[in-house]
């Protein structure tokens, strides 16, 4: 495990009565791709803005590479930001935009031009230097914003929903490119997003935010396979949350648990129930054929529903819809449930 280079200690940010960030502790490691995932208003952007220096914590400390920065202005912090709206300077060319940080530092013009051209190569926009931001597409502006931040060799790059404004295809392409660039330059990326798929695809680790608090921190697999709270189970992917009497009947305990729809299967006639499996019987109430897979809604005997997703390996839409309103037995491995909450 590499050393923790970014520390947030008991950080809170209050806006009047509202606790936008409520007593957060985070450790981010050198060189990792760290995502802050959460719905809007969960405090993730406020957290990022405090690391960048646009906002200051009401309580708590932010430590970057051993230096307490909580009260430093943005221009004295070793971080750079890629903004959601890119924030390119409209009155400057692409070259001037990218060179801005160097110009402020007083780097000579010839040296600036060389570095800008390297950066344009890195983000695959060679020859775009003389254009104005308004002449570029969304995806291209995105890359310019990235180049403008990276040219300063920050220790940490902060990205505030940078792919939010792009369409799906371009977004997926940029996800791959961002990840590639991060590996190339090898610096820490802190990535804010509300898109759980994006967070799962790109991150080394994810912090799931809700109502100003961090619900869980872990690798994508951790967070997905073993959500530790009902919120995480519901927000990252889809989940069946089972509690109370229904849980009691299945597991023998009334503790609330979550199980992913794709971990559950519809039992065949010759399936044996193994020791390491949970069983539930019910009736298929709804069948939704989605091409790649089919989603079943199963009403359990004695109350409660479970969603089941199965791949259409051998089945067609005709086959799957036939079992609607039929009795079904559901099976899944015990290891695939996570107890969430109390």
């Amino acid at each position: 495990m590499s050393e923790s280079v970014i520390l947030l200690k008991n950080v809170s940010r209050h806006f009047g009565e509202v606790k936008a960030v409520d007593n957060i502790d985070l450790e981010i490691e050198d060189g990792e791709f760290f995502s802050m995932l959460g719905p809007s208003g969960s405090g993730k952007t406020t957290c990022l803005r405090m690391i960048a220096g646009f906002d200051r914590p009401t309580i708590g400390q932010i430590i970057l590479y051993g230096q307490e920065v909580s009260n430093l202005p943005p221009y004295e912090r070793p971080v750079n930001t890629v903004f959601q709206d890119y924030a390119l300077f409209p009155h400057m060319t692409i070259e001037e935009n990218i060179a801005y940080g160097l110009m402020i530092k007083g780097v000579p013009k010839a040296e600036r031009a060389k570095q800008v051209s390297d950066m344009l190569d890195l983000v695959r926009l060679p020859g775009f230097g003389q254009r104005k931001p308004s002449q570029l597409s969304g995806g291209q502006r995105q890359r310019v914003a990235l180049a403008r931040a990276l040219i300063n060799h920050p220790k940490v790059l902060l990205l505030d929903e940078p792919l939010g404004a792009l369409d799906l295809k371009l977004r997926q392409q940029m996800q791959v490119e961002l990840k590639t660039i991060q590996r190339e330059v090898g610096i820490t990326f802190i990535f804010v997003t509300h898109d759980q798929e994006e967070a799962l695809t790109m991150s080394d680790r994810i912090a799931v935010f809700n109502e100003g608090r961090v619900e869980q921190v872990g690798t994508p697999a951790d967070v997905y396979e073993h959500p530790s709270t009902p919120f995480v189970a519901g927000f990252v992917g889809t989940s069946n949350l089972v509690a109370g009497e229904v849980a009691q009947r299945i597991t023998g305990s009334s503790r609330q648990f979550s199980v992913r729809p794709e971990k559950i299967r519809l039992a065949k006639a010759d399936d044996k129930i193994e020791k390491d499996m949970f069983v539930a019987d019910g009736t298929v109430r709804d069948v939704i054929y989605l091409g790649l897979h089919t989603r079943y809604l199963v009403e359990l005997e004695g109350g409660g529903d479970l969603v089941v997703v199965e791949q259409n390996l051998n089945t067609t839409s005709m086959d799957v819809t036939r079992i609607k309103n039929q009795k079904a037995r559901l099976l899944w491995k015990k290891e695939h449930i996570s107890y969430v909450g109390g």
Binding site: A52, F54, P74, Y75, N80, F83, P90, G101, I104, A149
Partner: protein
């Protein structure tokens, strides 16, 4: 019935556009451009000094009369005044616009906006006259100067011929002060609008990239506010250039363009010379706009 009319127009978008644009276009073409052309034509006629009648015959002799040193002096004096008033309006207006656009909470902004535009609700003449009271010999400023024993300084200042006069209310300085006062709103509003259009993230991005607030102001805010400054200066510059009331009320015997036009047209009936005089500000404005374009004021349009 109404429905059928709506449908009729819906299917003919060009017709509805024509109907909407016809009144303003007629206004502009006939009344505005038309009167300008009439002026231009009139400036090529001349006044017969003997009969006092305008002779409708093409001639350049009016322009010859226009370009005598006394008149050139008037153009120069007016232009310098317009430039000084514009600069003062920028210096006074920018900080307030900046505060309104970037820092004022919404309620405060509404009040400030009201405060800036409120004077425009009252009569121009009344406001100008109120300045007469402020600047007069026995007015507020002289009274204040006496109290703090600076009346000597005031008198010394007024003794300079190009800026002073018998009192502040009869001096180029008085004209300048009143002009700055009455045209200031026309500078504040466009600058404020321009600054408001600068997204907050641009300011943050600049700081994020290492620029101190002063550097951000110089490299990001000022260039983006520049079109607003130019828009405001077009108002203050052209309004100062053409105004005749303020020089009339606060002026010494020296003429400004507006006053000259008034005198030639109204008092001496020399409409061709008055018309030629009016061409002056038009050319000065064209020169001004060309310089502004050269400075990049219209790049954002």
């Amino acid at each position: 019935m109404l429905n059928r009319i709506s449908t009729y127009f819906y299917l003919r978008p060009r017709l509805i556009l024509a109907l909407f644009l016809a009144p303003p276009l007629i206004w502009f073409l006939v009344v505005y451009i038309g009167s300008l052309i009439t002026l231009l034509i009139n400036s090529f006629f001349y006044l017969d000094g003997f009969t006092g009648q305008v002779v409708h015959q093409f001639t350049l002799q009016t322009y010859e009369k226009l370009l005598i040193p006394t008149n050139l002096q008037i153009f120069l004096r007016s232009t310098v005044m317009a430039i000084l008033v514009t600069l003062a309006c920028i210096v006074l207006g920018f900080p307030l616009s900046y505060y309104m656009a970037r820092f004022a909470p919404p309620r405060m902004k509404t009040w400030l906006y009201l405060a800036v535009t409120l004077p425009l609700w009252t009569s121009y003449v009344v406001r100008v006259y109120s300045w007469k009271l402020i600047l007069a010999q026995e007015g507020i400023i002289s009274w204040l100067a006496r109290i703090i024993h600076l009346d000597g300084l005031l008198n010394w200042y007024l003794s300079h011929e190009t800026i002073g006069g018998p009192s502040l209310s009869v001096s180029p300085t008085g004209i300048f002060l009143v002009f700055v006062y009455i045209w200031l709103p026309y500078m504040i509003v466009p600058i404020q609008t321009a600054l408001e259009r600068v997204p907050k993230s641009l300011i943050e991005a600049s700081g994020d990239l290492g620029a101190t607030p002063a550097q951000t102001f110089r490299t990001v805010l000022l260039p983006l506010a520049f079109p607003g400054v130019i828009a405001g200066s077009i108002f203050t510059f052209s309004l100062t250039l053409g105004d005749f009331i303020v020089p009339q009320l606060f002026g010494t015997s020296s003429f400004y363009i507006g006053k000259a036009v008034l005198t030639y047209q109204g008092t001496s009936g020399n409409i061709p010379l008055a018309a030629a005089f009016t061409m002056g500000p038009i050319f000065i404005m064209i020169a001004y706009l060309l310089i502004a374009r050269k400075l990049g004021a219209f790049d954002a349009l």
